[in-house]
Assembly symmetry: C2
Homo-oligomer: 169 residues x 2
């Protein structure tokens, strides 16, 4: 069963994208700053998210990533699936060959658990998350922190503008 920082990072980044994306693509650099996830690591994750057709990329200046479809059509389970190979709790990846080609004693238990988890995460869309009160307030806090960080850095005016518009748009 794999559900570690990798899957959490992916969902967090996608939720960040969902909150801040309106028309312009969002760069990984912005997500990296707000969610404090290594840029290079985000690149790896978004490579998989793109392969899973959950996001589309726009290259070049002003580029970034956009969600491939509407918020109510992207589910947490899909995101986790895209970066982890599965959220399967069995040792045999559901194949049922855990003990000499046959199922082990607890195979069905883990299979049932996998179904439960998958069902739960499949029911949660990005839209649902974005609409949550706690998510809204946490996002607002992150925006403020991000703006403070900008003050402490030696950025030029255009950098600042990009970050501010993505917050307030």
């Amino acid at each position: 069963m794999r559900l570690t920082t990798k899957g959490r990072y992916a969902v967090t980044a996608m939720l960040d994208l969902a909150i801040h994306s309106h028309c312009d693509p969002i760069s990984l650099a912005e997500i990296s700053k707000r969610q404090e996830i290594s840029l290079s690591y985000l690149e790896q994750l978004f490579s998989k998210l793109r392969q899973a057709e959950l996001v589309v990329s726009v290259r070049g200046p002003g580029g970034g990533y956009k969600l491939s479809r509407s918020l109510d059509d992207i589910f947490v389970a899909q995101i986790v699936d895209a970066v982890n190979e599965s959220i399967d709790a069995t040792s045999c990846q559901g194949k049922g060959n855990c003990q000499h080609g046959e199922v082990c004693l607890t195979h069905h238990l883990w299979s049932d658990l996998s179904d439960q988890i998958h069902h739960f995460l499949s029911g949660i869309s990005l839209e649902k998350l974005v609409d949550r009160g706690d998510v809204k307030s946490i996002s607002q806090r992150q925006n403020n922190v991000a703006l403070e960080d900008v003050d402490h850095e030696d950025l030029n005016q255009s950098d600042l503008r990009v970050i501010q518009t993505s917050h307030t748009a």
Copy 2:
């Protein structure tokens, strides 16, 4: 989120114990043989299971482990908790300090998921598992295999008796 071979082994071993324990304690060597789990590894796991008071040990010849209480009072969640430090899906172990002492954007999602998993596994007792048809048939298969293995080894008559009685009792 930790739910790997470790937790699976622990549950499998406990279920094996539940199936075969009637009055006499069951040695880890027997469980090791039937479930194909390294004996030394089982020792480590049972050390934790004993600390969690899920099993009691009997030392010396004829010794082994017994469940500390009845089958309907031991739940899968307790077993996993005993060997993994938690089945928590959050990155902060539920403390809510995932981002600079405050909750991260997806904290509540993982917290909810943890509750779901815990609730599911808390509802499954060893008794429920033992009563399942698939568990019964798999256990029977394992007994047959264990007996075949005995034939291939150079064991004395008393060894054979111990294993057979534990199967049929």
